[in-house]
């Protein structure tokens, strides 16, 4: 029973990326920040009452699922794609999608390439152990093209190889590409090709078989998304908790019904989760949004009310 364990431990073990700017990266003093990190904080706040009670476990593409399966981490908040086999065969449960992504290619401008279809014979840098590796093989096979993979272990290494010209193209999720490109000294010299060759719904995952824990993480995520939909922000949170007349908001913030009891938490769990780093929109804007060096547009990740795909299930 993960919930009891976490409570007993007084700390949430959260699996994150070893370092991907904007999503999860330690700063010089070892404090983790990022879009994925915010999920960890929200869950910790909901469960333990303190967003700081998280132990971040850096995982590589290769170690992440085992870390989860073996119980080393309680939740994997690391850009991992929700796929059929992972959900079924790997004995994971993806609880939702915090970022709708797709795999893309980044190339240097002077290569003169404008479409992924022109990459026949190119050398492509790719992180091992990811779905991108499989997508890449499928894409080139489907288009009857050949390529030479350069296997790398981490994003840092991928950047090094790509910048040195050891590969013509770097492929990973478009968000990751944007983050990487943003960190370059000369972002204008690199373009992300228009083809998105796969669907990459990224989301937190938990171990299969503990559905109560899964529920907690799932609804924490939805709480963040719903909060944006209802206009709850970290600033007006307390105020709305007192004054809001919207029954949905009241339920969410635990002023009326006790939804928390149904998942083994207290009334104010969602309020704390939102307070941790703000609602979904705030988190997005603060870590990867257009105002940040990463500079991602909301796109698919806008609220469903704004024409995007982010859609929180009703709190009822």
């Amino acid at each position: 029973d993960t919930l009891a364990e976490v409570k007993a431990r007084g700390e949430l073990n959260c699996g994150v990326n070893t370092g991907l700017a904007g999503f999860a990266a330690p700063d010089a003093s070892g404090n983790w920040t990022g879009f994925d990190v915010a999920i960890c904080k929200a869950v910790a706040a909901a469960v333990l009452g303190d967003p700081a009670k998280v132990k971040y476990v850096p995982t590589t593409g290769q170690t992440r699922f085992t870390a989860l399966a073996s119980g080393e981490v309680d939740v994997l908040a690391r850009n991992s794609t929700w796929t059929f086999s992972r959900d079924t065969d790997l004995k994971l449960d993806f609880v939702g999608v915090n970022y709708f992504d797709g795999q893309g290619f980044m190339v240097s401008k002077d290569l003169g390439v404008t479409s992924a279809k022109e990459l026949d014979g190119a050398t492509v840098c790719i992180q091992t152990g990811t779905t991108t590796e499989l997508n890449l093989a499928d894409f080139f096979q489907a288009n009857n093209m050949s390529y030479q993979p350069v296997n790398i272990d981490s994003n840092a290494e991928g950047e090094q190889q790509y910048m040195a010209g050891a590969c013509d193209a770097y492929t990973t999720d478009a968000s990751g590409l944007a983050a990487t490109r943003a960190a370059f000294a000369d972002p204008e010299n690199h373009i992300i090709l228009p083809e998105i060759i796969s669907k990459e719904p990224l989301g937190p995952a938990v171990r299969h078989g503990d559905s109560n824990w899964g529920d907690i993480v799932r609804w924490t995520l939805y709480a963040l998304i719903a909060a944006e939909e209802y206009g709850i922000t970290s600033k007006n949170l307390e105020e709305l908790a007192k004054s809001s007349q919207n029954p949905e908001v009241q339920r969410l913030l635990g002023t009326t019904d006790d939804l928390g009891a149904m998942i083994g938490l207290d009334k104010e769990w969602a309020r704390r989760a939102i307070a941790a780093s703000g609602n979904y929109g705030e988190i997005f804007a603060a870590n990867i949004g257009e105002q940040t060096p990463i500079g991602l547009a909301r796109g698919l990740n806008a609220q469903w009310t704004q024409g995007g795909l982010q859609y929180a299930m009703p709190f009822r």
Binding site: E5, G71, E72, F184
Partner: protein, 484 residues
């Protein structure tokens, strides 16, 4: 036969000739050059080749090293400074990254205000090691302890250590120095306590935890003494049983209760904050300390004439030596939880230490086995003939000698293991070499810097490993001289 004597000229020297100095051509620089560098065509060619190689290295790296920049906030700034100072197109080393990030390389993500704790632990380590490592020479011990004391205290002051701890460290360091002058083996008490204190200082939390761990064997010993009157077998079983029972069932609760009664806690620091050389040395020292006794046990088991014990030892040693350390680390990070009861989950650093220890122990066992085999049979026989039993003979006669013979092997195993601590990067820990450099490079300011971090980390590894190997050579020579 007697006729031959006629030819013998009887000779007796009346005066002794004084020793005279060797003739002139025996010495001199020119002779040295001729003999050592240009004694033949092949030799001359080799000399020229060597000079060429040295010139090539200097030619390629001198500029780079000479154009070093120590003060900058980013790689670009560094390059700008180099360009400004030495002209367009010149290259140079940017050591500023080390200057800016040295603390990360040293302490990882350890909380900055607590840097003094690892520093103190490291300094006091020398006091703990004094009776074990430097027992051979009073002079060396004096120097090592004095240097450790000065450096540790100075760094602690620099790192704003709280005064009570500063006083504590000063007492231990200076006390250690004084005690070691009088009777070195008294310091063994501190050596035995150090592992527990060290863990406490590094990870923080309550001192009651380590104390309760120590209580286990103490209770076991009491049980052994009590039951020993009835039957030795019962005593051994009792000892192990009591110790394990205490550890597994009672120690945790006892520690918690004790903490509630009297709090002995200092700020806890999580394993994920360990990194850089702090991580390397923690893993290295812990593994060294545990692998030696484990290796001894394995070596003795492998030399045992009991078939089953021997085969188990052989299987274990050969298995561990037959697989790469990396796979063992992966087992630690991926599989260990499969083998343990559901729900157990312990620290990744601890798991890594266990694996590295097991790995080193297997190698250590082979080294010590070599030492045991090198002992003449007479030593065993003399011990037997004096009526010493197996364990006493091992402890008093065999092992002290075998370990001394094995010192070079033991030290090179240590060196190998210390170098191998860099492999923890592959299970997501922040080793100084790869992960830490990657982390530094992940920041926009230092993206694209390779050589300087590698050279820096490499140089530190070199100093430590080279130092260790020299120390072992010194010991070896010294042991040959002593007792002989």
């Amino acid at each position: 036969m007697s006729d031959t004597h006629a030819q013998t000229v009887s000779f007796v020297r009346e005066t002794m000739i004084e020793a005279s100095p060797p003739p002139e051509k025996q010495a001199g620089a020119v002779k040295w050059l001729r003999e050592n560098l240009f004694s033949g065509p092949v030799n001359t060619a080799l000399t020229l080749l060597a000079i060429l190689a040295i010139w090539f290295l200097i030619n390629h790296f001198w500029n780079w090293v000479a154009h070093s920049v120590w003060n900058a906030n980013s790689l670009n700034e560094c390059r700008q400074i180099i360009r400004d100072t030495w002209g367009e197109g010149s290259t140079g080393a940017c050591w500023a990254v080390i200057r800016e990030r040295w603390n990360q390389y040293t302490f990882g993500f350890y909380p900055m205000d607590l840097y003094w704790r690892p520093t103190m632990s490291f300094g006091l380590l020398f006091v703990a090691l004094a009776p074990v490592l430097f027992s051979e020479s009073r002079k060396i011990r004096r120097i090592v302890l004095a240097v450790a004391a000065v450096v540790t205290l100075a760094s602690m002051i620099q790192l704003n250590a709280p005064t009570p701890w500063l006083i504590f460290a000063a007492i231990v360091l200076i006390g250690g120095l004084i005690i070691s002058e009088r009777n070195n083996s008294w310091l063994l008490v501190f050596s035995l306590l150090y592992p527990f204190l060290g863990v406490w200082w590094l990870w923080g939390g309550s001192l009651w935890g380590p104390i309760m761990v120590i209580v286990g064997p103490v209770l076991g010993y009491i049980a052994w003494k009590l039951l020993g009157r009835i039957s030795p077998i019962l005593a051994s079983v009792g000892m192990i049983g009591v110790t394990l029972f205490w550890w597994l069932a009672l120690a945790g609760r006892a520690a918690r209760d004790a903490e509630n009664i009297l709090s002995l806690a200092i700020t806890p620091v999580n394993s994920d904050r360990f990194g850089g050389f702090l991580l390397s040395t923690t893993i290295g020292i812990a593994a060294i300390a545990i692998s030696l006794p484990l290796g001894i046990v394995l070596a003795l088991a492998r030399r045992s004439d009991m078939f089953l014990v021997k085969s188990l030892a052989v299987m274990f040693i050969e298995f561990i030596r037959g697989v790469p350390l990396i796979t063992l680390l992966f087992v630690a990070s991926l599989l260990l939880n499969y083998f343990l009861p559901p729900g157990t989950n312990f620290d990744i650093i601890l798991r890594v230490i266990i694996m590295v220890t097991i790995f080193a122990a297997a190698y250590m066992a082979e080294v010590i086995r070599g030492g045991l085999a090198a002992l003449p049979k007479g030593q065993y026989e003399a011990a037997d003939a004096l009526g010493l039993d197996y364990w006493k003979a091992q402890r008093l006669i065999i092992l002290p000698q075998a370990l001394k013979i094995s010192i070079p092997g033991i030290v090179s195993t240590f060196i190998g293991m210390f170098k191998d601590t860099t492999l923890v990067t592959f299970v997501g820990l922040y080793d100084p070499l790869k992960s830490m450099s990657d982390a530094v490079r992940a920041s926009t300011a230092w993206k694209g810097i390779y050589w300087e971090p590698y050279i820096f980390v490499g140089a530190i590894f070199f100093i430590i490993c080279f130092g260790m190997s020299r120390y072992s050579m010194y010991l070896e020579r010294r042991l040959q001289r002593d007792h002989r």
